[in-house]
């Protein structure tokens, strides 16, 4: 994989907007060790976004893009919500689906890509809010998992419908009062990670996005397992600072507070047996590659 696939016709290079020139010259596509550390130096990893200042979704989205193992051959499926404001800035193929339909669209897309490009690895990654994933789209979410569709579902869990001003969602905590849910939530936060495991997901993680290296690791794992084995699910806490009354600098602390072992976003991971085996194999290969690189470096220096 490389940037070979995205060359600008030389006659038009001078008239292309700078983002596209940067994409072909400096994008991280094809870079073996691309990851969250590339953020800030590559325009394609969302230089500008249109979310609220300091919204943790903006960092989470960047970590995801930087961590995709195969960005040129990845199609992301989005849904309406705050994330859909960012998709126009994303240099990975993406489809905006009707609210809630994201996992149905992704199912068809993944199957079609498999038929159309038999020899090529094509990854499909859904990225949707909690309203889209667990409420209006729950049918589509679960059915895709029951059918063992081979793609990754990522839920940006901000515990409410942020984009429409703060309505109650199934992932909201019990008792929470939002701007447009004044009575307060009367039932518990839906335990979607457990439901995902029981519905057939082979790799499930719930965490916050306070640690980029952790996000990078779980994204990679989820994409690899989905590619080889079956559905995977990531539930990432991206607090809506606007709705919980925090200012733009407080998102990180909010995540740190909520990920403590006794809190609702304590790290949770479920891995099926076949997925465990695959991840172990991948880790072994990675180790081998690193050792070989080290040896090569030592030989060069000698």
């Amino acid at each position: 994989m490389s940037k070979e696939r995205i060359k600008i016709a030389p006659e038009f290079y001078d008239i292309m907007p700078p983002e596209y020139q940067d994409l072909v010259n400096r994008a991280t596509y094809g870079k073996e060790d691309r990851g969250w550390k590339d953020i800030g130096s590559a325009k394609e990893l969302i230089e500008e976004h249109s979310l609220c200042a300091g919204c943790p979704e903006s960092m989470a989205f960047r970590y995801i893009l930087a961590s995709l193992p195969n960005p040129e051959d990845t199609v992301m499926v989005g849904s309406t919500g705050c994330t859909s404001l960012v998709f126009p800035h994303v240099a990975v193929h993406n489809i905006h689906s009707l609210f809630g339909n994201q996992n149905a669209i992704a199912s068809g897309l993944k199957r079609a890509l498999t038929v159309r490009f038999p020899g090529r690895i094509k990854d499909v990654v859904v990225l949707a809010g909690d309203g889209a994933t667990v409420d209006i789209g729950l049918d589509m979410t679960l059915q895709a998992w029951f059918r063992q569709e081979k793609f990754t579902t990522i839920c940006f869990d901000n515990e409410l419908y942020a984009n429409t001003g703060g309505q109650e969602s199934g992932l909201m905590q019990k008792g929470f009062v939002a701007k447009m849910a004044p009575v307060g939530k009367t039932f518990d936060k839906v335990r979607l990670p457990e439901i995902a495991r029981e519905s057939g997901c082979h790799y499930v993680v719930q965490c916050t996005v306070s640690k980029p290296s952790l996000v990078e690791k779980v994204i990679r794992n989820a994409v690899h397992v989905a590619r080889e084995i079956g559905p995977t699910y990531l539930q990432l806490y991206t607090p809506c600072i606007l709705e919980i009354g925090k200012n733009s600098m407080e998102g990180l602390q909010e995540m740190r507070d909520s990920e403590k072992p006794t809190e609702r976003f304590a790290f949770k991971e479920f891995v099926s047996e076949p997925a465990k085996q695959l991840l172990a194999e991948l880790a072994a290969k990675d180790k081998e590659k690193k050792a070989a690189a080290k040896e090569q470096l030592a030989a060069q220096q000698a």
């Binding site: 060359k7 016709a9 030389p10 038009f12 292309m16 404001l85 126009p88």
Partner: protein, 211 residues
């Protein structure tokens, strides 16, 4: 029933798809002008005339030619650049030929820079900003071109030309079909041939090409 004509707008907020108004696509060897099928030769002459008449004649190359997908796309890119250079040479100092890319189709949110690009979801912004009064689409996928051409007809008075690689565009005011390197070069020849014979449009529009 009077025949619908595909004319410069502003038509109204939602102009009808020309196909729904009975406009047919040309057969090979033909083009259409305002929805009337004409021999291709006539379309070359009229397209060249429209370019030379406009104050800001502009070419909008789309993703199919901006990106070097293959050898064919690369050759088309060379031909389009040649057409643009020819146009630049053939217009008077009062006119300003432009070449503005449509690099992809994503809606540019929250804002586009209309000085450097055009987007099919709000092409009117680029047309208004640069006061473009004649434009040619080339290398834009059919469905995006149709969407865009309709928006332009709806909200601006810009004359639209489609150099279409497939069966042509009803929603443009003038359309070629089966676009090739040869056809693009031939249009450049026509521009050169008509140089100095066409009077520049005197119409003054207040906000760009819209009325």
């Amino acid at each position: 029933m009077t025949q619908y004509k595909v004319l410069p707008g502003p038509e109204h907020f939602l102009p009808p798809a020309a196909a729904s108004m009975g406009i047919r696509l040309p057969n090979p060897g033909e083009g259409h002008i305002n929805g009337v099928i004409v021999p291709e030769e006539q379309a070359y002459e009229e397209a060249a005339r429209q370019f030379l008449m406009a104050k800001v004649p502009t070419i909008f190359p789309g993703p199919l030619v901006l990106w070097a997908w293959n050898e064919k796309a690369a050759k088309k890119a060379t031909a389009i650049r040649h057409l643009y250079e020819t146009l630049k040479e053939c217009v008077t100092p009062q006119q300003r030929a432009m070449l503005i890319p449509m690099p992809d189709y994503r809606p540019k949110y929250p804002k586009i820079n209309p000085e450097v690009e055009i987007n099919p979801n709000h092409p009117n912004l680029t047309i208004w900003h640069n006061k473009i009064d004649c434009c040619m689409f080339v290398g834009v996928h059919c469905h995006q071109a149709n969407l865009s051409l309709k928006i332009i007809r709806g909200g601006t008075s810009c004359y639209t030309i489609a150099m279409c690689a497939q069966a042509g565009h009803e929603d443009a005011m003038l359309s070629f079909r089966d676009a090739s390197v040869e056809k693009i070069m031939k249009l450049a020849e026509w521009v050169r041939k008509l140089k100095g014979t066409v009077k520049v449009s005197q119409v003054v529009s207040k906000s760009g090409a819209s009325n």
